[in-house]
């Protein structure tokens, strides 16, 4: 059922979509599907004649202790980091919404951490948290306190990795959410001011309902990027101490390239795809509910 509102013919539309399809199919969709098949075989660079092995790879992966740790860690990362990033993004956007002198400059400063690549971010915080030349250690020394890098602690390594992730991603969340906050009709703010609504009431009854579709989209992007956490921890902790900060992406990479266990790597990676499918279904459900409301 096609209702034309633009004078575009069907054949023209196909030509327009074709380049994207030719790029995305072999380099994105096909590997996503192929991962499922590879995970059910013993395929690998050293195994030219793969055989079907059923769920054996999954059983093998589930048995390794680091695998459970990686999913425990990523679950904590996603549930802590993403809401924090969204909250900081909304909060900063709320503070920036009225024009003032220096706002343009602040918006640039507020995007700066996102420019630091995940790999550079890990390396930078490795030094910033060090005892000798670090930033936190400097302030601790003022108060005569001892400071040891939290990255060496089994308890504190994961919260620290999350904090560096929030430092880098919250600015991007703010950048994406800010235009949505600006689009809120001024009458709503005036009404809230006249009513004497508190900040929290304004956020609850004006910002959130108005921002919801955008907020869900940004949340999906952030969940996806956090789920794939790899370069962020590669230098920062290397997944350690022990398996305190190992993530599914890092686990998959190490299995494939460090331990030469290609099927285990592919299988662990395909579980990331499977969880993305679940997350996507939840996202679609939430946006449809939102659209119907």
């Amino acid at each position: 059922m096609i209702k034309r509102n633009s004078p575009m013919r069907r054949r023209e539309r196909i030509w327009l979509v074709l380049p994207l399809a030719l790029l995305v199919f072999p380099f994105l969709l096909l590997p996503l599907l192929l991962g499922l098949f590879e995970s059910l075989t013993n395929y690998g660079p050293l195994q030219p004649h793969p055989q079907f092995v059923g769920l054996a790879n999954y059983a093998a992966v589930f048995r390794t202790p680091d695998f459970a740790a990686s999913w425990r860690n990523i679950l904590i990362m996603v549930t802590v980091a993403v809401p924090l990033e969204l909250a900081i993004g909304i909060g900063l956007g709320y503070l920036l919404r009225e024009p003032f002198r220096g706002r343009a400059f602040l918006r640039v400063v507020f995007l700066l951490p996102w420019l630091v690549s995940p790999i550079a971010n890990g390396a930078m915080w490795h030094f910033l948290l060090s005892q000798q030349v670090g930033m936190l250690s400097y302030f601790a020394a003022w108060f005569g306190m001892d400071f040891y890098s939290p990255l060496a602690s089994v308890t504190w390594a994961l919260p620290t990795a999350i904090a560096t992730d929030v430092w880098r991603n919250a600015p991007f969340a703010c950048f994406l959410l800010f235009p949505g906050l600006l689009a809120i009709p001024p009458e709503l703010w005036e009404f809230a001011t006249l009513e004497g609504a508190s900040v929290f009431a304004q956020i609850r009854y004006i910002v959130l309902p108005w921002l919801m579709p955008l907020l869900l989209a940004v949340a999906l992007l952030l969940v996806g990027s956090t789920l794939g956490t790899f370069d962020d921890v590669l230098i920062l902790t290397g997944g350690g101490p022990g398996s305190a900060t190992v993530t599914p992406a890092l686990y998959s990479y190490l299995q494939a390239f460090q331990f030469a266990l290609w099927p285990a790597g592919v299988t662990a990676a395909w579980l990331i795809v499977a969880s993305m499918i679940l997350i996507a279904l939840v996202y679609l459900r939430l946006t449809r509910v939102e659209a119907a409301a």
Partner: protein, 280 residues
Amino acid sequence: MSWRAQRARGKWLRAFLLVLAGVIFLAPVLWTLAASLGVMPDNSHAPPSWFASPSLEHYAEIGALTPTFAQALETGTWVAAAATGLTIVVAYLAAYALAGARFRRRWFVVQGFLILASVPVMAYALPLLSIVRTARLYDTFVGVVAANSAGFAPLAAYILYGYLAQVPPELEQAARLEGATLWQILWRVVVPLTVSGVAATAVIVFVLNWNLLLVPMILSETQIKTIPILMTDFFRLEREIDWQSAAAVLTVSLAPLLALLAVTHRLLDHFTLTAVQSIE
């Protein structure tokens, strides 16, 4: 408390919170910049002291520590530029086709772009390597650029759809009645109306490409060494590297993006994710 006093208090609170956020976002970068110039603290005694011998020698040392740094800057720029160009062109055309058509499943296609955009690279990187090897594109510029572009094209298509859906169809209809071809309509009518949005999207996609580690790391061995790859090798192999040299490497790797942000920040004010509102 009077209304006026409350307002004044709100203003001060806002200024305080904004400055605090600015300091938190800026301080780590400034700390690194200072160290790269030879200014760093000595925290071994209380109160800590500063160790300052300002010089540019650590920048000069980059060449000796990582001889391929200049090469990586060049490779990284070409990869990011080519992948950004390819991404924007294919995503723009597809988003235009989608914005021009009205069919019931369009909502799913647009949301599908966003879902694909949020899939992390490691989820499909290993099978991607199998495909790229089979296609004999392993360790080539074309292979890395194609894989980078495929990864970011859904995001670009989602963003660009938001701009294209706002172009009034009457303009295109009028041009078509005048006898203009599809390409003329695109180039003369639609592109000029969306050019600032396209440019802002291109800046974001360029930054994502510049910072992408996994695709060039897995799909190449020696040929395509971008800055993130170089930094990974550098920091993994030399853990005991001194902080000033590390800081100099970090600063130089960030500098091109800082320059880009300085030049394009007015453009980025036009950036919006309006696709969510344009779907009905």
